[in-house]
Amino acid sequence: MNGLRDTAGLMDGILKEQDIRKYTYTLSRSEKQELNLENGDFKLMRTVFNNSAYLRVFMNDRMGSVNGNDISREGLEQLAKDAVSAAESATEDPCHDIAPDQGSDVFRQGVTEPDIDRFLERIKEFLDVVKNEYPKINLMATIGAFDRWTWISRNSNGTEFEAFAGQYSFSLEFSASEGDRTTGIDYLGFSTADLDTPFIDMVDIRRRLENVQNSLDPQTLDGKFEGCVILTPATAADMVMTTIYNYASEGVVLDGTSQWLDKVGEQVASEKLTVSFKPYDERIIMGERGTANGFRAEEVTLIDKGVLNTLWLSLYGSKKTGRPLVKYTGSDLVIEGGDKTLEELIASVDKGIIMGGFSGGQPGANGEFSGVAKNSFLIENGKISGAITETMVSGNLGEAFKNIRGITKEQRCNGSTVVPYIAIDGIVISGK
């Protein structure tokens, strides 16, 4: 795929012609080849060629931003005019700003020349294994895609980042059935830069397929109890990110509803919990390189052994509040592993559940959550005793992560996050 330097040169000229002196822009071009299967049958082959242009301009401390996908001269000229018009309509706010000069860099990530034949072979091989070894599984939707893209980002302070990237991705929606009995759906996906490993052996696919096959006769629970919930890595990633957004993200800091507003440097979670964003971790395929504010991305540990290191503020939020800036705006989540095996965690639980999914209401600013435990199993006297259905869990996000019983050594890596199992005490679990 060719770079976008010529188009960036065109953009620079247009900005100069229109006398726009403070700006940041990103141009990108992408290609997707996607194979869609429905119930194990090849259904649709999809090819997408896309472009995008993002431009933010500043007119005397007034900011306007525009997006478009027409990167012709005419399209970019219109984009610049629209950006100026938006900025001129805005009120002055000097906290809107761009990153200082970050120098130049070229990033190369993943694989940019795909082996589509090998990719198709891996998909067919996966279908065969599922058909032969997991006969009760319905592969309702299977998507295999290869995406590649190039982007270039420049700002008026002199920064220039350019990137060439590509990856394979594979995702599944599946259930199990036997006779008239059907389970709920489970979802999983991963991304990879190579095709060395059969897909059935990637991430925790075998365990997830087995769990769904073992969920055809779920039981309902009577009444409610307070117990231990072991979050699977996928559920743990969702709940930790929800907690971060709920308590430490820019929106809740600016509107003053964050419950962690004055907790930096204090213990906000169990000392077992360390949460970071690690864009350069070798297990993560497409870690962030340039932030949305135009900084070179940096690794950040938000929670270190339970202590809140920093709130997650962009350049705007940092300037608005006078608090430290975080030079990271992606989602390359890494939760450090603990000292237990999954079997040890399960053996330690008198009564609780292992929760493979959570379908719940968006927690309010206070962090209260409640919802349905999906793809979950009851644990009694240290052993898994069977799948459950119509079971709700509730608690408070802030309190929950203070009550961590244990974290597994094993971390699941799906190409974009690295997360262990986390066992939490004191969650209300209620049946019918």
Binding site: L35, E38, D41, F42, K43, L44, M45, R46, T47, V48, F49, S52, M63, G64, S65, V66, N67, N69, D70, S85, A86, A87, E88, S89, T91, D93, C95, L120, N138, M140, E173, S177, D180, T182, T183, G184, K224, L254, D255, G256, T257, Y316, G360, G361, Q362, G364, A365, N366, E368, S370, G371, V372, K374, T389, E390, M392, V393, S394, V428, K432
Partner: protein
């Protein structure tokens, strides 16, 4: 709006395959005032052309982010090649019969752009109103969100036409603190189908809704946790709409029926009380426009209403042309794609449980000890019909009267079990149209429902 360069390209369609060529533009406008600070001020437009070719049941799709005759030629060629490649790996061969209707539909509406300055002024006026009248709030956010779709569809053997779907909303969000210093929050979406001038020509007309929202926030800051367990509840109309969409609607999308949804073995069986009738409306309801009218889908099928549950009996699914053939049902115009780069898949349009005969007051008065659940923030369901809705606004009902407000909670159940417990239905319908449905792609959808008395599982402490 898009100029028609699509129709003339029909001459390039190949023989022996079924082809749909689509020009498509999505437009967004967004302004966010957080505590009076303009934190977002953006406009975006994306356009392109896609083609889908059905070669005996193997579908090829291709799209390009250009809107030119040359781009149309390229996507037709690429989609044809994709379909051919796939057909080599697929045993099943199906050529769909030609659509019964093959006509050209007229443009249904116009998209009128509004300058960003006016949008910011609207948000500023509403923010001023809130901050002056309600200074005791912990926080407030005024967000303007507009999205529109402009599509020109040309099919080889079905309908063609130029159709647009503009919609715009102001979201008002308010936060207050409980006596323990814990924040509580509520939001309200105001607006609907149409352009800025259709919805916001007189901002003062929005003030009464803002006042109602403030009262609910003040009630909620004195709120209590719901008691967990199976309860008698009155679901408000917005909750009824969420139920129609999430808990039932997805299970009766024919592609998910094919994937094993609970609706498969329940066709022509009782799945709800006889008080429940549910319809996915295409473009009109009760002689007036539906919240988000759909006149034709992206396969070129002319959109008609689809009755899903009739007097408690499951009678139909939502179909695209392929599943309609497989299930021996009519194609109703449900296959839609969100952007030029998205292939059409089965989506809901304006899904609604129809009203009954009781008044809302009668429903509330009938409950001795239960809850009145008014607004939902989000919802999900799976193929078994097990659903979950977040409840952001609700009240206790004690001895037939509204009591204390509830803090955020969640309700859940199995749709076809829970719908059998519906024993009173109100005589009016509340609609919403601001939401997005997520199913591979986003999609703007309308949903509606009456108040209903039923039994439901509620999460609490």
């Amino acid at each position: 709006m898009l100029e028609d360069i699509i129709t003339a390209r029909k001459a390039l369609f190949s023989d022996g395959v079924q082809t749909v060529l689509r020009g498509h533009e999505n437009r967004n406008r967004r302004v966010v005032l957080l505590k009076g600070n303009l934190v977002q001020n953006s406009r975006s437009e994306s356009r392109g052309i896609s083609a889908r070719v059905n070669n005996a049941g193997s579908f090829g799709f291709a799209s390009i982010a250009e809107y030119t005759p040359e781009a149309a030629e390229k996507v037709l060629k690429a989609a044809g090649e994709n379909a051919l490649l796939l057909s080599k790996h697929r045993d099943k061969k199906i050529l769909l019969p030609a659509s019964a209707l093959s006509e050209s539909l007229p443009l249904n509406y116009n998209i009128i752009d509004m300058e960003q300055k006016k949008i910011i002024e609207l948000c500023r006026q509403l923010d001023d109103y809130v901050v002056k009248k309600y200074p005791d709030l912990l926080s407030r956010t005024i967000s303007y969100y507009e999205d529109s779709q402009d599509r020109i569809v040309c099919s080889s053997d079905a309908c063609s036409g130029h159709l647009v779907t503009p919609r715009c909303y102001v979201y008002v969000t308010m936060s207050a603190e409980t006596k323990d210093g814990v924040p509580v929050e509520l939001f309200k979406a105001l607006g609907g189908f149409g352009n800025y001038s259709d919805n916001f020509s007189d901002p003062e007309k929005l003030y009464p809704e803002i006042d109602k929202l403030y009262k609910k926030v003040m009630d909620k800051k004195e709120g209590v946790y719901a008691e967990a367990g199976q309860k008698t509840v009155i679901l408000g109309g917005m909750m009824g709409g969420m139920l129609a969409h999430e808990a039932v609607g997805h299970t009766v999308e024919a592609d998910l029926v094919r994937g094993g949804s609970v609706a498969g073995p329940n066709l022509n069986k009782r799945v709800a009380s006889e008080l429940v009738t549910m319809v996915d409306f295409a473009h009109s309801y009760n002689g007036a426009p539906a919240p988000l009218p759909v006149f034709m889908d992206d396969e070129g099928t002319k959109a008609v209403d689809d009755v899903l549950i009739k007097d408690g009996i499951l009678v139909g699914y939502m179909n695209d042309r392929e599943t309609a053939e497989e299930f021996h049902m009519p194609a109703t115009g449900n296959a839609r794609g969100w952007s030029f780069a998205d292939e059409p898949i089965i989506r809901m349009r304006n899904t609604c449980i129809l009203p009954g005969k009781n008044t809302v007051e009668e429903l509330i008065a009938s409950v001795e000890d239960g809850y009145y659940l008014i607004d939902s923030g989000n919802g999900e369901a799976d193929l078994t019909g097990q659903f979950m809705f977040g409840v952001t606004c609700g009240y206790e009902i004690k001895n037939g009267r509204i009591g204390r407000a509830l803090l955020d909670t969640t309700v859940s159940g199995i749709a076809f079990d829970m719908l059998k417990t519906v024993d009173m239905v109100s005589d009016e319908v509340e609609w919403s149209s601001s939401g997005f449905c997520g199913k591979k792609q986003p999609m703007a959808v309308g949903m509606g429902g009456p108040h209903m008395r039923c039994q439901i599982m509620i999460g609490g402490r």
